[in-house]
Symmetry: none
Subunit: 247 residues, 3 copies
């Protein structure tokens, strides 16, 4: 990882940075690219401006993420942690992207245009697409009710009817960001459903998920990671039983 | 809503701002004024400085909130989200209020004096008033123990013995701020009691509460909103049964 | 520290628990008792129910904290992290205190009575006391305005006019809880003033403060700890210069 120990780190804290950067990032079991999709949401959620700047820069300079993936990650993060939190993340991405090009003496390439969207505009068609995506992403047979502002106008219409279906970021990457966000947000149920679905879909292997918990803990503290680990243990069992039942 | 899409918003994020500002704020079911009391705590909690500045300014310039209401909202927010979070909110309110008057070439009017307080000063009398307010606000027959610093010196003596009883902000507005705060704080029990009491007191209708959940989700992310939704569903049922039993 | 590694901890996570419990807690530079006043607020803030239960129990059983200190810590935490977060902490303290006595076959001793308060009841006198405590605690010559609900009714009247002046918890312990809370709350300014005042007052030595940053990082994640360390570095310099100027 190209992120240096912060200047002026007292000796007392070197133990911590050694642990995070010399031990955790170097571990096998989860690729360096995948680790960014856990680390970036954690640093953004912590409102840690300087570390966020260094992480965004390192991920882009090292070529682990393209700018399109980074932008898409900001959007996904905003939906799962709230857009006010995402506003700093978004600003820092632009700032670092400009700075990287300035240092190289190159112009910043034009951004990918938003339109046309790849999802339908007709409200009924969008809800249908959202319902199917809800089932697919969450690996469940049911769908939430339409006639409720939160689940209709919010979840079906926008979160699953548009956001999860956007090109520019793979399913595994969206899973990693989502698991990190539900782990620091610590609402009691979304953590269950998203860990379950990430495992059930085989987008993340059991071993990768264990590494996600450690990487998350290194970034967001072990008390929240300890809840995530508990959930992972339970959902592994549930998924294993379902796979056995399905033959 | 007069809050513009942040400068330099990447195309990926425009979809979200369209959703939040063009769709969510325009929905019927919750007044624009009421929506501020959900949005402002969410933006303040996220430590999102620039969005907070724009939101405070828009709420004051548009005349949806008076400066007294805004100041009182900062105090209520401080109690429910922690004093440190509220300090930036407080500073930005003062800064924007000054700026608005400067732009108009008008002097800033003098602040409403703090004293006299409208609640009793004698400690025993304050506790009695706090106990009654605790029952009234929470719609419960019991009261917490006095001989415990958290529930006695804190909850009865200050939170209910003084803060909730201050003039300058209506009960509905205090309910909205509180529900937003317990939803992002995601401690397991306060969300139950405050959603219950907001519905039971009829300060918020069932339909308004559904809109609160959507508005909250648009500002603070889906995982926490989904917990809020679940709690709303359960508490609606409880309140409906209680109303039926009460004839 | 008597807190065991959670059951079912995957091998991937053992590295983390080793780091926290075998390395950080055992370090010199900050006493075990002092470390609780950093760890407890962090675990409570993370809504980590099982770790919170184990921490509260271990601190009480080991005799590092009295029950009065623990109760007072809950109130101080409530003020700095928001009341909803503190409700679970408060419940768990009572639950574990009951359980400890049940296991010993001893009755729970009666709680310390709340009244009489040691701070004045008259609003004007309370504000005067609050203003003096504000100066003393924050090591600053100025005071905030009274005629503002947040700074008058809240900060001067309650936070400094009552809460900080309560007996039952020493100044050093209140400093430790406050620094932990402003570090996880990550509002931009309170972290500056509270780290400054803890050092300037000599309630915490420079070396102890470095250990606080590490202990905090082990519990709440290094991105927030890295901001704390940066602030500590700056405030050490400021305090050193002031001491030199003061002769």
């Amino acid at each position: 990882m190209a992120v240096p120990t912060p200047a002026g780190t007292p000796p007392a804290a070197e133990a911590m940075f050694d642990f995070v950067f010399a031990e955790v990032w170097q571990r096998p079991g989860l690729s360096r690219r995948d680790r960014w999709f856990v680390a970036l949401p954690c640093v953004a959620a912590a409102d840690a401006e300087q570390p966020l700047r260094e992480h965004v820069r390192a991920a882009l300079v090292g070529g682990d993420l393209t700018i399109e993936e980074m932008h898409e990650a900001v959007l996904h993060f905003a939906v799962y942690s709230g857009w006010p939190k995402a506003s700093l993340f978004s600003m820092i991405v632009d700032e670092q992207w400009d700075r990287i090009h300035q240092e190289r003496g190159e112009p910043v390439p034009p951004a990918t245009p938003l339109l046309p969207l790849t999802t339908p505009s007709d409200p009924e068609a969008r809800l249908l697409v959202g319902e199917q995506a809800f089932r697919d992403v969450n690996c469940v047979p049911y769908i939430p009710v339409r006639d409720n502002p939160y689940s209709g106008a919010g979840i079906l219409n926008f979160v699953f009817g548009e956001m999860w279906l956007r090109p520019g970021l793979g399913m595994k990457e969206r899973r990693l960001i989502t698991v990190a966000c539900v782990a620091f947000q610590d609402a009691p149920y979304p953590i269950l459903s998203h860990v379950y679905a990430a495992l059930k879909s085989r987008d993340l292997s059991f071993d990768e998920m264990d590494e996600v918990a450690l990487h998350f803990g290194a970034y967001y503290g072990w008390p929240k990671a300890s809840r995530l680990m508990q959930v992972i243990g339970e959902q592994k069992q549930r998924v294993t039983q379902e796979w056995a039942a399905e033959g």
